[in-house]
């Protein structure tokens, strides 16, 4: 047993420990065994590799954006190029990175294990969804190479339908295809969570990670098709001039935005809810305590999902929707913010009387809580119709959504990757350097995006390749921060790859966590469990864990 007071890590004796064989990685070899797999864990790894690839492409584009904005003039690239760069940055980051980030990797890997199933309900659909994702991704890259697209990720009509000559149709089709990948992932999760739970795994014994994914999946299934039809209409408009979004023919361009945001607002919750699930697991594990107010946290996920469908028009406050609609949507936006606040405070109180340690996942989780609070509160600034007038379409929004998406979800993703890395690979990541990376990203992040709030208040519009000189100072800070941030993101890639070979053997349950996924070997077997698990305790029951360990010791000794 370890007696170190600063960590809960409990590793097997490194001299004798081996990675258990067989496991899901060693079971079969060869590329085809990966490309044709039905194993949710292998698909998760396929996703992990592909989204990391797209993240770095998106990140490189972000680097270009920041370099261009170093000086007030459009000197690094033409405005046209700049427009293509931020459009592709947005599209790649959102549709090809953040939407599938936690769900398609960690969710895919863990949901069946957490509920005690052998696989997702529909393994082939799961694989299909990865292929759709790749098809969409490659198509998007193809569009980018062959001229790019410069509509902004929001595809605002009639700009996208009539006034640009770039690859709108190809990119639209890419998003359409990637969208179906996300629909199938969500569908698979819902079915799995409903139908594949192990005996004794009642709804209120599910880990909060599963609840969060359930809520996000509802949004994927019900929201994404509306995006699909909106994009189909844009493609038809471009190809045939059907006039539905064309003001010259009597169409209403705002209709497109209604359909687009009907998906894309819920999509922001698709992007945050799975991250919130990760945070619940991490905070609980590293404070050795059941999450404070389990039911409230579970239901707040569902509440976010349901209310999430009622607020989409807050992206259109000044766009010409009726003033009455503004009132209604502004009010509902305020309501949807409340469940997030509940979660934050519940997590904070989970720490109360805990026994806290500060491993990397926990550091990221703390980062999440602070940054998401800032990002979320500034969302409320935008949700209040009056202040939105001044702040909309400025860098304030850019800062808002990077705080929630990068400071929130990306931090949560990294927390989750570190947390479950030992489960996925069987090896630990190096703790010290990863703690350093967490701190570096936190600092870099704030330096990058906090100045953007000020820029926004000053009125600097978003999507500007050049800007008045008085905004330069803050932009330079922001660019400097982005460099640090880039390093912060490069580090994990390096040391995680390193750890694949040299990391310490982790054993089944290095964190002494309670989830079912920790009660089996790491990396797990293809079938996850040797015996069908029976859930006979509540979620996050650390006392059960202790008694379990005591039993093992007794039977071993």
């Amino acid at each position: 047993m370890n007696n170190n007071n600063n960590t809960i890590v409990d590793l097997p004796d490194q001299a004798t420990a081996r990675i258990p064989q067989p496991n899901f990685i060693s079971k079969e070899n060869g590329l085809m065994s990966w490309l044709l797999t039905g194993d949710h864990k292998r698909i998760a790894i396929l996703y992990l590799i592909s989204i990391t690839f797209f993240f770095f492409i998106g990140g490189a584009l972000a680097g270009l954006i920041r370099l261009e904005l170093l000086t007030p003039q459009a000197d690094l690239m033409a405005t046209d190029t700049y427009n293509k760069v931020f459009t592709m940055h947005g599209i790649i980051m959102i549709f090809l990175f953040l939407v599938p980030s936690v769900p398609a990797t960690l969710g895919n890997f863990l949901i069946p294990m957490m509920i005690g199933a052998k696989d997702l309900a529909l393994p082939k659909v799961n694989l299909l969804s990865w292929y759709l994702y790749m098809a969409g991704g490659i198509l998007a890259l193809y569009a980018m190479m062959t001229g790019g697209v410069d509509t902004g990720w929001t595809f605002t009509t009639p700009l996208s339908t009539h006034y640009v000559n770039t690859n709108v149709i190809t990119t639209g089709f890419a998003i359409f295809v990637a969208g179906f990948s996300s629909i199938f992932t969500g569908l698979n999760f819902i079915v799995t969570i409903h139908k594949m739970r192990a005996p004794g795994m009642t709804w209120f014994r599910l880990p909060l990670f599963v609840w969060a994914h359930y809520a996000a999946s509802i949004l994927m299934v019900l929201g994404t098709p509306v995006l699909a039809i909106a994009i189909v209409l844009v493609m038809l408009e471009r190809a045939f001039g059907i006039g539905v979004f064309d003001p010259a023919k009597g169409g209403d361009p705002l209709l497109f935005q209604h359909l687009f945001w009907f998906y894309s607002h819920p999509a922001v919750y698709i992007m945050i809810l799975p991250g919130m699930g990760v945070i619940s697991e991490v905070i609980s594990t590293f404070s050795r305590k059941r999450v404070f107010g389990y039911t409230a946290v579970a239901f707040s996920s569902v509440a976010i999902a349901v209310f999430g469908f009622f607020v989409w028009a807050h992206h259109m406050f000044i766009m010409g929707i009726s003033n009455y609609a503004v009132l209604v949507f502004s009010l509902l936006t305020m309501l949807v913010a409340v469940p997030s606040a509940i979660k934050i405070f519940n997590w904070a109180f989970t720490l109360y009387k805990g026994s806290i340690t500060f491993e990397t996942p926990m550091l990221y989780a703390f980062g999440f809580m602070g940054l998401f609070t800032i990002g979320g509160m500034t969302g409320v600034f935008l949700g209040a119709s009056g202040t939105d007038i001044h702040l909309t379409e400025t860098y304030f929004i850019v800062a808002h959504f990077h705080f929630v998406m990068v400071g929130g979800m990306l931090m949560a993703f990294l927390a989750g990757i570190h947390f479950w890395w030992p489960k996925i690979t069987g090896r630990m990541y190096p703790e010290k350097i990863s703690q350093l990376a967490a701190v570096v990203t936190f600092i870099g992040f704030n330096l990058t995006f906090f100045p953007q709030f000020i820029l926004g208040v000053l009125g600097m519009p978003r999507r500007y390749a050049s800007y008045p000189p008085e905004f330069q100072v803050l932009n330079v800070f922001s660019t400097a921060g982005a460099t640090i941030l880039g390093v912060g993101y490069l580090l994990p890639v390096l040391y995680l790859i390193w750890s694949l070979k040299y990391g310490a053997i982790a054993g089944n349950n290095p964190w002494q966590a309670t989830g079912l996924e920790w009660q089996t070997q790491s990396p797990p077997l293809t079938e996850n469990f040797t015996v069908m698990p029976v859930m006979d305790h509540e979620a996050y029951d650390y006392e059960w864990l202790e008694s379990q360990k005591a039993k093992e010791v007794a039977s071993a000794g």
Partner: protein
């Protein structure tokens, strides 16, 4: 300081003189908006401090070193209710306060002077009633309510004046309005904030706030000779609108005098207030709303008049309540249109009821 290289020094000086942290408050609404803004900042800071304080203090108090065994706690309905209700209450305050400001920004007072703004890729064209025409700049007098009626010729643009805290989308095919009252003479940024294609970031300009005197001078020096309504009259004649819209008893179309701001009965049974948007629709999509008692014979002028042309026509019809020439001269030279009594009908019109008096 001497050991800093002069180039860097110059650079720093230039940098820091251009450095700003908060935009000027140059309109009447700006302080009100900022009050709400700072309220929100305050609430956010309190919220953030609360969260950080909880996290940090618990981390210290209950770190494994100090507190090796966790105490399992289920939750607390009372506490959870607290942090549901308090944020909800605060958010509701923000909602109501925000809605009030939204209401103010988008409800022009009755006596506001109207300037038309047309956005197109990639410039702003302002049409003053006196016929002054400017591109990528807007001259307005200090201390007068100015209403902008915006429209776009192509894609969405957004007319943003950060120093005034106002912004409104220019939409293709539809008028939108916003108003402000500048309080400090000076030159302020004008941005297009809605992404509108390649040169979006060059669709910028200046809003020049002039003292009354300077404004008068500016009006006089930059008029093109013809007022907007006069242009409208020309168009009215050349498009032979008068063939139907004349005051003769056998006229096929309704008389347009005094039509602006009145409530019209439609053939479908409803009524509608003839505002700018309605006049525009009547010219481009006449069959959309047929006035009671008339046949849908008016041809559409879509494709035959530019947005500026439509604006001129609308401006002309707006002023058809009396001899427009007389008004035009006053309009150009006088800053207070309502003092001539000419805005009075508009002020009584139902459309203007319920506006806030600033």
């Amino acid at each position: 300081m001497s050991h800093i290289s002069p180039t860097i020094w110059q650079f720093l000086v230039k940098w820091l003189t251009n450095f700003a942290l908060f935009p000027p408050e140059a309109s009447k609404i700006a302080p009100q908006m900022d009050a709400l803004f700072f309220f929100m900042v305050l609430v956010s800071l309190i919220g953030l401090t609360a969260v950080v304080l909880l996290v940090v203090s618990f981390s210290i108090l209950y770190s494994k070193k100090r507190h090796p065994v966790a105490v399992q706690i289920e939750g607390s309905t009372l506490l959870e209710a607290t942090w549901t209700i308090i944020p909800l209450g605060l958010f509701m305050v923000m909602f109501v306060w925000g809605a009030l400001i939204y209401f103010r920004v988008y409800t022009p007072p009755a006596n506001a002077m109207n300037i038309y703004v047309v956005g197109k890729q990639w410039m702003w064209k302002a049409e003053h009633p006196g016929g002054q025409h400017e591109i990528n700049s807007l001259h307005v007098p200090v201390g007068h309510a100015v209403q902008l009626t915006l429209i776009s010729e192509d894609v969405f643009h957004s007319f943003s004046i950060p120093a005034f805290r106002v912004k409104r989308e220019a939409i293709p095919g539809r008028y939108t309005t916003v108003w402000f009252e500048a309080t400090t003479p000076g030159t302020y940024h004008l941005f297009c904030t809605q992404y509108c294609g390649t040169e979006h970031s060059h669709m910028i300009g200046d809003v020049v706030v002039l003292s009354e005197e300077d404004y008068r001078k500016w009006l006089a020096s930059s008029t093109s000779g013809n007022s907007l309504a006069q242009n409208g009259e020309r168009l009215f004649a050349s498009l032979s609108c008068a063939a139907c819209h004349n005051a003769r008893p056998d006229a096929r179309g309704p008389s347009l005098a005094n039509v602006y701001g009145s409530r019209l009965a439609l053939s479908t049974g409803g009524t509608v207030i003839a505002d700018d948007a309605y006049l525009r629709e009547s010219i481009l999509n006449p069959s959309q709303h047929i006035t009671q008692g008339y046949a849908p014979i008016m041809p559409t002028y879509q494709g035959q008049v530019s947005e500026e042309g439509v604006i001129a026509l609308v401006e002309y019809i707006r002023h058809l309540d009396s001899d427009y020439r007389v008004q035009q001269t006053t309009n150009t030279t006088d800053l207070l249109p309502e003092s001539e009594g000419k805005a009075a009908p508009a002020a009584q019109a139902p459309a203007r009821n319920g506006t806030v008096k600033p």
